[in-house]
Amino acid sequence: MIENERKRKAVESKDAALHYRDSFTSKAIIKGNENIKIKTADELVIRKWNKRESLGYRVFRVFNLFFMILISAATLYPFLYLVAQSFSSEAAIVSGSVTIFPIGFNITTYISVLSKGEFLLYYRNTIFYTLVGTTSSLFLSALLAYPLSKSHLKANKFIAPFVIFTMYFGGGMIPTFVLIARGLNLWHKWPAFIIPALISTYYVLLMRAFFIGSPHELEEAGELDGLSQFGVFFRIVLPLSKPIMATMTLFYAVSYWNNWWNAFLYLEKKDWPVAYYLRTIISYAATSNDPGDVSAEKMQVAANIKSTAMVLMALPIICAYPLVQRYYVQGMMLGGVKE
């Protein structure tokens, strides 16, 4: 009896909490202020519940906390190690004493890497490819995704499978290489870096899901007011699609920034992006089969420069990442949520 009574109260208090949360949420929405911290029902009743949690569950929560700390530390450590190495002296790296903090702190490696003309050239190339590539990818993907989201278009019955099929089957490495390098004659020309990656099928489908899910009333209103479909698209749909456009910008920008494979296949030295330059300096260590003293030392000296180049390449992504993280997550959820 007492047990049941307790449960009933618990449920009531949770209901009350839910109700409270809802009223709070709607207030926040009315104000248009998304920054108000909304506590979930769980959080509101958690204090009362703590007393009744079983010992096993409390042990689990402690374990979970330590597990999460462990995961976070394990994820961050390689980055810290990289940064520490890039600031350390050569001698400290060779002796293997760098762990988390730089030893023999200096910035000479940074100065020497940045003062080399070629690194800056490659960096500039990367920025150029990312800007040009992302802009054109975004534009083309939206142009495809928007009509694909219109279910009244009859041809979509054929066009959608035509597009989706490329996700599951492709031309393969060699025919693609032959087409780009020989068929389209892009060998040693910079567009070869961007063109093969222009439209990603998966991202088009994410965009389409967004367009399908967004309300159509404004589009219809625009049509009634005499806008053409292009007008509707450019003046109504695109400005209202900022969340998905932000997500896609980030997805595409990261993929161009990180790409080295197309550079490897098609580009000559002066057009390399920084990612491919990095590949040329790390592959030395990977293919060196001699673990003898001299080469080990050489490799460690290179490690100094390698770490610096890696830090410099990853820096923009790592800096921008915490700011834009929620867009990534939103974008992924668009494609994956099942109801």
């Binding site: 979970n64 031309g171 032959v178 439209i199 790390i282 990442y321 997550v329």
Partner: protein
């Protein structure tokens, strides 16, 4: 991709409500026009096009891209059956039948690459799939929102780091002066030059893969967990279910469709290489070739390095077709088991 049927059905219902009526009246008028029933379809089609031509114009450039960049190479696979040499047409010069297929089937280095690909992908899948699910469940148990956000943010980060940087990190990490060997030394063990030890290759591959994708892999699970109706948990609670029981009997059944979908995708990729290709390509070296040579690195070496274009294309085509078959089988099986399907 996974929801489009759902959305399509919903929006088609909407559309039919709005548009069917005027369309029917038009048809009636059309029936009275000369040509009658036969011309009806044609007229309707031209009518549809006249109303919607702008949409089709919008799609034009992207579709040209798909035809040229995605479908022409697909057709270019024909050079697996035709001899291609640099300077010939991209569809090959003369028929060679199944010559190149017979060639690679009799080649031990091909089979080595084939089984290496399977070993690598299966070990990775077996380790990563359950761990990702467990990590997602554990993340879902965190009650402090800010702490949860933090762990998520941190664990997603490696997904956005270029494979080149990941490979560089791996090489430095397991190098003679790297942290792994420092730990070995601390415990009085001999140092190991991991990157050139074939026996360590799979471990290095799987561990670094976990580092890269454990966090990111949880996103879809967390998304579907967020959509579980809280009433279910409350009901289970009232019925006296413990925390573990709630996870086993509420959370897992609710996210089963997501698990199934992700599993299909993974099975479909078993013979392919996807992201793995770049990493393997970057960390392999002649000393580990016996375990690190996978199909796509083999295709690269044969095709682009040694100019055996047709031979390499035959292997690539073989790989692609097996993938497609695996994906279809996995999709059918999962559809039969859970009612979820990719297409």
């Amino acid at each position: 991709m996974r929801d489009d049927t759902h959305y399509r059905i919903a929006s088609e219902k909407e559309m039919s409500k709005k548009e069917q009526k005027p369309a029917e009246t038009i048809i009636e008028i059309q029936d009275m026009l000369p040509g009658g029933q036969d011309a009806r379809k044609r007229r309707r089609r031209s009518m549809h096009f006249r109303r919607n031509w702008e949409f089709y114009v919008m799609m034009l450039v992207p579709l040209v891209f798909f035809v040229v960049i995605r479908y022409v190479p697909m057709a270019g696979n024909i050079i697996a059956f035709r001899r291609y040499y640099p300077g010939a047409s991209i569809f090959g010069s003369e028929n060679s039948g199944l010559k190149y297929f017979k060639m690679f089937i009799g080649q031990p280095t091909f089979w080595r690459a084939f089984f290496n690909t399977l070993t690598l992908n299966i070990s990775y899948l077996v380790v990563r799939f359950p761990l990702t699910l467990i990590f997602a469940l554990l993340l879902n148990e965190i009650r402090t929102l800010r702490w949860k956000k933090f762990v998520q943010t941190v664990s997603y980060l490696p997904h956005f780091i270029s494979t080149v940087i990941v490979a560089g990190m791996i090489i430095q990490f397991v190098s003679l002066g790297g942290p792994v060997n420092q730990i070995l030394q601390y415990f009085g063990k001999d140092t190991v030059h991991f990157i050139i030890e074939p026996s360590w290759f799979v471990t290095i591959f799987v561990t670094s893969g976990l580092w890269q994708s454990l966090g990111w892999g949880t996103i879809l699970y967390l998304a579907s967990m967020a959509h579980i109706n809280p009433n279910l948990y409350e009901a289970a609670e009232v019925d006296g279910a413990t925390h573990l029981q709630r996870v086993l009997h509420v959370t897992i059944p609710c996210i089963l469709p997501t698990i199934a979908t992700l599993f299909i995708l993974d099975i479909g990729g078993l013979v392919g290489s996807g992201m793995a290709f770049e990493k393997v390509f970057l960390i392999q070296n002649p000393m580990t070739e016996e375990v690190s040579e996978i199909l796509s690195t083999y295709v690269y070496k044969m095709g682009i390095k040694q100019n055996l274009y047709s031979y390499a294309t035959a292997i690539g085509l073989f790989e692609g077709v097996i993938n497609l078959i695996l994906l279809t089988i996995a999709n059918k099986t999962v559809k039969w088991l859970t009612g979820t399907s990719l297409w």
